[in-house]
Amino acid sequence: MIIEVKKLKKTYEGKIPTHALKDVSFGVKKGEFVALMGRSGSGKSTLLHQLGLLDAPSSGEIIIDGTNVVVFTEKQKTEFRLKKLGYVFQSYALLPELTALESVYLPLMLSDIPKAQYIKKATEMLEKVGLGERIHHLPKEMSGGEQQRVAIARALVNDPAILFADEPTANLDSESSETILELFKNLNKEIGQTIIMVTHEPDDKKHVDRVIWLKDGIIKPEGT
């Protein structure tokens, strides 16, 4: 297992505490393409944020590649996110001042890789997502689908152990959505990339190996 989740709980404190995740346990094998699905408010995005070390759970364990990451300090989490995890956000999340190439090589720059090497690798990654001709374009000069592909290239450029995608097609038209999902599927098949994707589109099921259904913060069997 590349991910093991044990009795994970997340409660948002307030006048009335909200239990977003209630005793969630599951595992993900290396090379699996998993979808987290459920209705709005089911806890799927909350679960992704805990797995991706973007938020801290209230209790439980998250073991990634044999390490319990819940006990990490902020510095360790930052380092772990850089080296082991990749993210694709719903709304592209590109920096407006950076070209596609710069957006993609930024994580490599943070890893202290020589310039020539990170430019070469970032260029190759952009070619892999079909943007070889657009490397010097700014986000405002690209379509939504293209921007999301840049975000995918950025997420993958450090060879992450796991790629997290939070509703990556929510802001895209159907054609671009299909392209992105095909890209994920190919990455999964060709290089064995582990992918965990949050989606609310029932049709996305056909692209993934497995669906984890969430309802009111609890994992439910498919179809319930």
């Binding site: 944020h49 991706g52 973007l54 938020d55 902020e74 510095k75 930052t78 380092e79 772990f80 996110r81 850089l82 080296k83 995890l85 993210y87 956000f89 999340a93 590109l94 920096l95 407006p96 001042e97 950076l98 710069e102 930024l106 994580p107 720059m109 943070l110 202290d112 700014l138 950025r154 997420a155 450090n158």
Partner: protein
């Protein structure tokens, strides 16, 4: 911390961000810097004008007065040797006499205007090398070496020449008028006014001058002095020359620098210096707050981007450094443009159009020290003003910054 990544982010943000914002930011930094230099320079100019007036019209650089209980400096050899010390430009020996000067306009013994004023005797040639009174004649002429029965007086004594003490003056005398002088040994003599001078130093304008030969004949003395003023070629080296003057044999005499004698003007210049420091500190704080606001607004606008950068594994310190680099960049450009404006526009303007202050003509005194202090102040202000909002901005959780 990844300095290369910080620099990369700062560079792209500055040069690919909104050009209007960049120009406005640099303009604000430039104005903040010019303000820092200008305020300090004006007050520096005022202090210098006060000091220059004291040096040029009253004390020169060094003043030698008799030993305690003595009326005159009696070491004639020493007096004559002062000018031989290398670096001493000239010295001028004075007899000083508190005299009553009176003016009877109608020569009828009625409405006599009189007052007690200081009369100094001068060797015209020596005096011209040590003070600038001879250049301040506003009516008539300065004394000549062989003048007898002639006197030059300050505008405060003359009255009606733009002085501040008309109520104490002779009520308005002019060149050619005859005035009576009663010296403190009760000898009385009539003098013709040869010239009236006006400096920017009220104390100097309350003095009158006659030739040394004239006063020596009155006091029945020769080759003595009540005071000697000494001009040196390098202001600020007074103590060094005082030591050399003492070695000539003037061991008991009181020897002071112009700074020790300035009294009122010294306290005025200290006050101006203090005001300058306070305004400089306020200017620095304003510059710091300005940078803080600029970076704070930038961070508010880039809140989501900060979250993204943290999410992809960028350390908080790297993000903070990128904002500090931006602030430092704005400060450096502000300094470069500000120095150019000060040195090539403001300074030449004030050299050609000095400000007319009661203490003298005031230009900007822009020293390397003022520029250095202003540069350091602005850089420190940029550092702090950039760091605080960046530190606070990066401390927000990733989820809050990305999704609000």
């Amino acid at each position: 911390m990844n300095i290369k990544a910080s620099f990369f982010l700062a560079r792209t943000t500055i040069f690919r961000g909104n050009k209007g914002t960049l120009v406005m930011t640099i303009l604000i930094m430039t104005l903040a810097y010019v303000n820092l230099i200008f305020i300090s320079s004006v007050f520096g100019g005022i202090v210098e004008a006060i000091n220059e007036q004291s040096i040029d019209n009253l004390y020169s650089n060094i003043v030698i007065t008799p030993a305690d209980d003595e009326v005159y400096i009696k070491n004639k050899d020493a007096i004559n040797s002062i000018d031989t010390i290398p670096g001493i430009v000239a010295s001028s020996a004075h007899y000083i006499n508190d005299a009553v000067i009176s003016y009877d306009e109608n020569n009828n013994g009625r409405d006599i205007q009189q007052g007690k004023w200081i009369i100094k005797s001068i060797d015209v040639e020596d005096e011209s090398k040590t003070t600038q009174i001879s250049d301040s004649i506003i009516e008539g002429e300065y004394l000549e070496a062989n003048d007898r029965n002639k006197i030059v007086i300050g505008k405060e004594i003359a009255g009606k020449h733009g002085g501040d003490l008309d109520h104490l003056s002779l009520g308005g005398v002019y060149v050619g008028d005859k005035i009576d002088v009663k010296f403190n040994n009760d000898i009385k003599r009539t003098y013709t006014i040869k010239g009236i001078f006006s400096t920017k130093n009220s104390q100097a304008d309350q003095m009158a001058f006659i030739t040394t030969k004239e006063l020596e004949s009155m006091l029945h003395v020769h080759n003595l002095a009540s005071e000697i003023i000494v001009k040196i070629d390098e202001k600020g080296q007074e103590e060094k020359y005082i030591e050399q003057i003492r070695q000539l044999g003037l061991h008991d005499e009181d020897i002071k620098t112009w700074e020790e004698l300035t009294g009122f003007t010294s306290s005025a210049s200290k006050s101006f210096t203090m005001i300058s420091i306070i305004l400089g500190a306020i200017g620095t704080i304003v510059a710091g707050v300005t940078i803080f606001i600029i970076i704070f607004v930038s961070i508010v606008n880039k809140r989501r981007q900060i979250g993204i950068l943290k999410a992809i594994g960028m350390k908080e310190s790297t993000i903070i450094l990128s904002f500090i680099m931006q602030a430092i960049f704005y400060a450096i450009i502000g300094i470069i443009i500000g120095v150019s404006i000060i040195l090539f526009i403001v300074r030449p303007f004030f050299i050609n159009n000095p400000l007319d202050f009661p203490v003298g003509w005031v230009s900007l005194k822009i020293t390397f020290n003022i520029i250095k202090i202003s540069n350091i102040s602005l850089m420190v202000a940029a550092l702090i003003g950039g760091f605080i909002p960046a530190f606070r901005g990066t401390k927000e959780s990733i989820l809050d910054t990305i999704w609000g």
